[in-house]
């Protein structure tokens, strides 16, 4: 039986974690995502499902707790907002380098530095290009509603375990703070320790039994040739993820002359902008990437020759626009419109930007 709840995006993350059988959450307070830890503390899932919830001494400690929990085969996660996610990059690159599954939530705020507590999308590069040192990628999911905040927790874990790769929900202060109706799922049972041994015993540190070699969670290999081979293996994995897991949504693109490309809360604004354009007789569609890595490159390419231009709308100086330009490779005009520092674009501004760039000419 489906249940519906009215909640904030951040609360949806916490509720989804409990219900999807998450084993542990390790976090540290930072605006605008503190409700995730607060909700978990209030819900006391350790009494209900046995899920561990711990407020760590720092973002650095919390991501390293996730590194450890993931290494022993548990379903673990953390969340933060931009400055805190910067601190977590150390742990994230170790997790990627040790090929471990976990979920990281970034409820983005404006930067650089301490920036602001208002929403932004200026962590796109950090999220999709790796973020820490070394050649690695995260699986990046961009929710555009509170429902998707809820749904992407389970999806993020599913993809993370499928590819033994860290997954990130790249949200922002709008989605984190706004309230919407959410259809919540049934409780999934947490895996027992025995089930973890059966599923992940080949690599997870569940205790060395006489019937197997010891398992070592590490990202270190001092042999350059072996390290290169490992990197090549990672790259093959990322290509496989690109092949199988690219997700996007098309709205009114079939007859479109122009396509807006936007993710997360910007895509919500763009939905309204599409309607306003259509009322004016401008044929505009919206391409919403749901996965930012893998990026819907082929979907964007498929519109080359059919549309007159793309406009990306981002709450940043223009980051995703670079990936759209790479996708069309000079064969179509691509422009960017956005605001920075916590300012949210309005639908009318988007319409005007489209007209200014492509129509008034």
């Amino acid at each position: 039986m489906a249940d519906y709840m009215l909640m904030k995006g951040n609360e949806a993350i916490a509720e989804a974690a409990i219900r999807c059988g998450c084993d542990g959450y390790f976090g540290y307070p930072i605006t605008p995502q503190s409700e995730i830890l607060e909700t978990l503390a209030l819900r006391k899932p350790w009494e209900e499902t046995g899920m561990v919830v711990l407020q760590a001494e720092s973002e650095i400690a919390s991501i390293n707790m996730v590194y450890a929990g993931a290494g022993c085969g548990k379903k673990v996660m953390t969340s933060s907002s931009s400055p805190g996610i910067s601190l977590k990059q150390e742990g994230i690159t170790y997790i990627a380098g040790a090929e471990l599954p976990c979920l990281i939530v970034n409820v983005v705020r404006g930067g650089p530095g301490l920036g602001t507590i208002q929403p932004a999308q200026s962590d796109y590069f950090q999220a999709v290009k790796g973020g820490g040192h070394g050649d690695y990628r995260l699986i990046v999911l961009a929710p555009a509603s509170v429902q998707e905040m809820y749904d992407f927790v389970d999806l993020g874990f599913e993809l993370a375990f499928k590819y033994r790769n860290p997954a990130m929900i790249l949200s922002d202060g709008v989605i984190g703070q706004m309230m919407e109706k959410v259809k919540v799922g049934e409780y999934k049972k947490r895996l027992t320790d025995q089930e973890i041994v059966e599923r992940y015993g080949s690599w997870a540190t569940t205790g060395k039994t006489p019937n197997r070699q010891r398992n070592i969670i590490t990202s270190l290999d001092l042999d350059a040739n072996r390290q290169e081979q490992f990197n090549l293996k990672l790259q093959r994995k990322y290509r496989e993820i690109e092949e199988n897991e690219t997700r996007f949504e098309l709205i009114n693109c079939d007859d479109a002359d122009y396509i807006l490309v936007a993710y997360g809360s910007s895509s919500r604004i763009c939905q309204k902008a599409v309607d306003l354009c259509r009322e004016k007789g401008i044929k505009v569609g919206l391409l919403r990437p749901i996965t930012l890595f893998p990026f819907p490159t082929k979907a964007i390419q498929s519109f080359v020759g059919k549309v007159k231009g793309f406009l990306t709308v981002e709450m940043s100086a223009g980051q995703m626009v670079e990936d759209v330009r790479l996708a069309v490779n000079g064969q179509c005009r691509v422009e960017h419109f956005g605001h920075m520092g916590g300012v949210i674009p309005s639908p009318n501004e988007v319409v005007k930007a489209l007209e200014d760039n492509f129509i008034k000419g």
């Binding site: 919390s62 060395k208 969670i217």
Partner: protein
């Protein structure tokens, strides 16, 4: 009696623990790490907890500790081992989790992690090797480097006005209510090794009984970093390290 008649299976009294692997250790000749690894391996073997032990190795010379003890291991980021162990002991309350860390890892970059893990009373053991120097990176100054001691980054000797004071972090840790057993040991003589083993047994049992955080500092040598022979390093340690880092239990609840 001929040596051949003595060296027989039935006369065997002491040798390498089964929990140690056959990998030759990468440590320098005479390095204390090997002795501490051995003592820990013996305790794991005697308590028969190989299948429930999870180790967390540091960044530093012991980064490769996972090559030597035949148990499951995590290799942590620099200083973060106590955070890793905190998660593991909470997710697996029936396992025995320990961190193995050097002075740079624990007392410098990881000072926050060790303090907070101890303060939360995490059910884990920390083995802290203090040889007052960064060994792996080539002998630089550590937080525990003695006043006047020469290192690659304090070539004229540690000057407290410039570099701050040697950090007696174990004394700080003993004050945290989450710790149940805090001791400072060494491993330079047969007697010291026996005492270290008793301390290790107590600490591991504490952890299995989930009494609180146990913490064993081992005052150690780094003969390569100190630029002395292993035997001379032991003498130098007794004369110079022990006055600043005196041996004995600081807390045993």
């Amino acid at each position: 009696m001929d040596v051949k008649d003595i060296i027989k299976k039935e006369n065997f009294v002491y040798g390498k623990s089964k929990v140690l692997t056959d990998n030759p250790m990468h440590y320098c000749p005479g390095c204390t790490h090997g002795v501490v690894h051995k003592v820990l391996a013996e305790v794991i073997e005697e308590l028969d907890i190989q299948d429930k032990t999870i180790g967390v190795s540091p960044v530093g010379c012991a980064v490769l500790a996972y090559n030597y003890l035949d148990i499951d291991w995590h290799e942590a980021a620099h200083g973060r081992a106590p955070a890793l162990a905190s998660a593991i002991n909470r997710l697996y309350p029936d396992k025995f989790v320990f961190t193995y860390q050097g002075d740079g890892d624990l007392a410098s970059i990881g000072a926050a992690e060790i303090m907070h893990a101890c303060n939360r009373g995490e059910k884990q053991l920390t083995i802290f090797i203090n040889n007052a120097i960064y060994g792996m990176t080539g002998g630089q100054m550590a937080p525990t480097t003695l006043e006047g001691m020469k290192t690659a980054t304090s070539p004229y000797g540690r000057n407290v006005a410039l570099h701050g004071y040697p950090l007696q972090i174990t004394e700080l840790i003993a004050q945290l209510p989450g710790t149940c057993y805090v001791t400072r040991q060494s491993a330079h003589t047969p007697g010291a090794v026996r005492k270290l083993k008793q301390a290790m047994l107590k600490a591991v049992k504490n952890t299995l009984e989930r009494k609180g955080t146990s913490f064993i500092e081992v005052v150690a040598t780094c003969n390569s970093g100190w630029k002395q022979s292993p035997v001379d390093s032991n003498k130098w340690m007794v004369e110079n390290m022990f006055p600043k880092y005196p041996l004995g239990d600081m807390k045993d609840i």
